[in-house]
Each structure stands twice: as structure tokens, then as C-alpha cells.
């Protein structure tokens, strides 16, 4: 399911790609996972949280803009748009059917970060989908128009560690 403005726009005069007024950039799994690894090597305690919060901030701005064009839409329709966008941008195949207004779970049948990590570094000792956690925290924040301070997310299991799929938990506090 998609809505108005969900497709990125390429401005061939300025060479910029935009979605909801924010810039998109192409990057591959080598860069994404290497960047993630050096951040976590440099800041082992703060690194995962920096990435999750950065994702939540950046995604919330975009989805709030997109959802704002159809404020009457039902929660599940908004989450379906978030799912479609997640996949079209290459982040993976998300199944948010167990996510509701008070939180819940999102399963990732595929995850760019988990697949990329295993491909580049082999199995991980810990979950790696910090971006995806932030993305789905932001999706529920924007869909329910909640203050971000009330949201909490974590990854319960991750395919990068050998689990059959990634499962994210989003909680509304």
C-alpha cells in the first residue's frame, strides 16, 4: 500500500533525491555495515542507541509528513504504508501485523542490516538491526501522533546472530 508522495523524487538538475522534503542517498551494505561497525567499536556503549535514535528521528520526520497528508487514515493503513516504504528503500520485508496502538512486534522476514552483516562479517554476537528498530518506533510514533519520548524499541532476535528472522519489539510507555 502506498500513498501520495511515497515515491522518492530525483531532481536531475540538482542531482538530489528527495522524499517528503528530505534527502535520500544511495549506499550499499558494505558502507552501511562498515559504518555501523566502526561506530560500535569506537563507542561500544552508546553506538547502538545513537543509531536507533538517529533512525527514529529521521524516519519520524518523513513519515509524519507523509501521514499528515491523509490524517483520516486508519492505523493499520499507515503501518502498511510504512511497510511498503521500508521495502521499497531496500531495508527488508517487514511484517507489522502484530503492531498496534500500544506497541507490539514487527517481524523482518528479510533485513538489509542482518543480511549485510552476515555477508560482510559473518555471524554477529549481538543484534544489528538498530536502524530497523528506530524505523518502526518512528512508524508508530508518526502513525499515532505520539511524543517520541514515550516510545521504546529493541530487537528481540536477529538473523545476523543465526535466528531464522529478526523480531523487533516496540513499546508505548
Amino acid at each position: 500500500m502506498t500513498g501520495p508522495g511515497d515515491a522518492p523524487h530525483f531532481d536531475a538538475q540538482k542531482n538530489l533525491v528527495e522524499l517528503a522534503g528530505r534527502r535520500l542517498v544511495f549506499h550499499c551494505h558494505h558502507y552501511n555495515l562498515f559504518l555501523q561497525r566502526i561506530i560500535e567499536d569506537a563507542l561500544p556503549e552508546e553506538g547502538p542507541r545513537i543509531q536507533m535514535l538517529a533512525a527514529a528521528e529521521a524516519v519520524r520526520i518523513i513519515l509524519s509528513e507523509l501521514f499528515g497528508a491523509s490524517p483520516e487514515a486508519e492505523l493499520q493503513d499507515k503501518l502498511a504504508r510504512a511497510r511498503a516504504l521500508f521495502g521499497s528503500l531496500g531495508f527488508g520485508l517487514a511484517q507489522p501485523e502484530e503492531l498496534g496502538a500500544m506497541g507490539g512486534r514487527v517481524q523482518l522476514a528479510t533485513s538489509h542490516y542482518a543480511i549485510g552483516w552476515r555477508s560482510k562479517f559473518g555471524p554477529s554476537q549481538r543484534p544489528v538491526c538498530h536502524f530497523a528498530v528506530g524505523y518502526w518506533v518512528a512508524a508508530l510514533t508518526a502513525a499515532c501522533n505520539l511524543p517520541p519520548e514515550r516510545m521504546h524499541g529493541r530487537e528481540l532476535q536477529c538473523a545476523a546472530t543465526g535466528a531464522p528472522s529478526c523480531i523487533l519489539a516496540v513499546e508505548v510507555q
Partner: protein, 219 residues
């Protein structure tokens, strides 16, 4: 000049690169993402600013993020220049080794990173590139005070990477992009390194990078 940048941009933009039924974008031997510039900027700048709180780690933060740019250049630029899409769109325009670099810069201009322009190319010696609307510098300028240092780490690594692929390695021979080949290109004394002399984040009008051999740069 043989390379028609507008034609390349139109062709690459026309590929309609987007997630498949599995929500992934396999292309050029990579998994691609159309990612959020704000995300990269926040995680990169948060990390480097945190490290800059310790004076002896100031250079380390920049080094790490530029190294990520080298990894990006090696795999993404290398993957693109070995791809069937490159052979179909860019290769027919190529008349010289330097055209490989010009063609890759044209492809970079479809990535959303800003507008890259080659200002000077001395084969095997030196490359000067300017970038308008670098996503790193525009992000810094929007969210942070004017910087004392250049902030386009990814682009810095990318500019050096172009020269290493062309003049330290030989991407024309379609080598395997292995870890050992990476070390050969980016660890030797003969490698290219880039310096960002001007940066929008510092208040300059645009960002400008010069890549030259490490030994030349050091002297």
C-alpha cells in the same frame, strides 16, 4: 569529451532501482539502500563529535569515517564499474582510462550525494573535485554551528577511492573486489589520499577535494 553525463544520469535514473519482493535491492553485486541522509549525518556527526571531546582522538574520528568512505568507493564504485549496466550505458562512451573516472563521477551524480564536478585530472597524479550540495556538509550546516574542520568524510574517501581504483589498482581488468585487493589499493605507500580543502560546513561556498599520492601529500 566522450562521456555524456546527462545521458548516463538519465539512463541510471531510468533503471527504477527499488526494493524487490523481499524488500531488498540487489544490484551491481551489492545490496543497495535508498537511505536517509539525515540518518548518516546524525550517526556520523554524533560519533565524531563525541570523539572530538577528547583532544587526542580528534583525528581518529575523521580517520574512521574517511575509511568508511574508502570501503564505499572500493565496493560501490568498483561494483558499478564491473557491472553489466556499466557495460551497457557507460562503456560505449569510453575512449581512455580517464573516461572511466569521468563516467563514474557521472554515475555518482545519480546517488543523491550532491553535484560532483572534476576540476582537474592529471592522470596517475592528481584529482581535484568540487561538490555542490554535499549531503554531509548541508546536513552539518543545518544542524550544527559552523565547523572548524571539513565534514565530508564519505566524499573524501570516495575521491581517493576513484584514484586508487584507476591508478593503484586496475579496475579496467575487472579484478575480484576482495579484502586483499582492498589492502593492496588502500594500504600501500603508493596509495592516494584526499584532502578536503574547502567545505560548506566551514563556511566555504562549496566543498573541494584534492587527491594525490600519499608520499607526494606528505612531502
Amino acid at each position: 569529451m566522450a562521456i555524456d553525463e546527462r545521458k548516463i544520469i538519465a539512463a541510471v535514473a531510468g533503471l527504477g532501482i527499488a526494493g524487490n519482493d523481499e524488500g531488498l535491492i540487489p544490484a551491481f553485486g551489492l545490496y543497495l539502500t535508498k537511505h536517509l541522509a539525515d540518518y548518516y549525518n546524525r550517526i556520523s556527526f554524533a560519533t565524531v563529535r563525541r570523539l572530538e571531546q577528547t583532544p587526542e582522538l580528534i583525528e581518529d574520528g575523521a580517520f574512521l569515517l574517511i575509511e568508511a568512505g574508502h570501503v564505499c568507493a572500493f565496493n560501490t564504485f568498483g561494483g558499478v564499474m564491473k557491472s553489466a549496466e556499466w557495460d551497457a550505458v557507460v562503456r560505449p562512451m569510453i575512449e581512455s582510462r580517464e573516461d572511466w573516472l569521468r563516467g563514474m563521477v557521472a554515475v555518482v551524480n545519480t546517488f543523491g550525494w550532491g553535484r560532483w564536478r572534476i576540476q582537474e585530472l592529471v592522470p596517475g597524479e592528481r584529482l581535484v573535485i568540487t561538490v555542490e550540495d554535499s549531503y554531509e556538509a548541508t546536513g552539518w550546516r543545518r544542524d550544527y554551528p559552523q565547523s572548524e574542520r571539513p565534514r565530508c568524510y564519505l566524499a573524501n574517501g570516495g575521491v581517493a577511492g576513484l584514484m586508487n581504483l584507476l591508478y593503484v589498482g586496475d579496475i579496467l581488468s575487472s579484478p575480484e573486489l576482495t579484502e586483499s585487493y582492498y589492502r593492496q589499493l588502500f594500504r600501500g605507500e603508493n596509495r592516494f589520499v584526499a584532502t578536503e580543502h574547502r567545505c560548506l560546513a566551514k563556511g566555504d561556498e562549496r566543498c573541494e577535494f584534492a587527491a594525490q599520492r600519499l608520499l607526494t601529500s606528505a612531502s
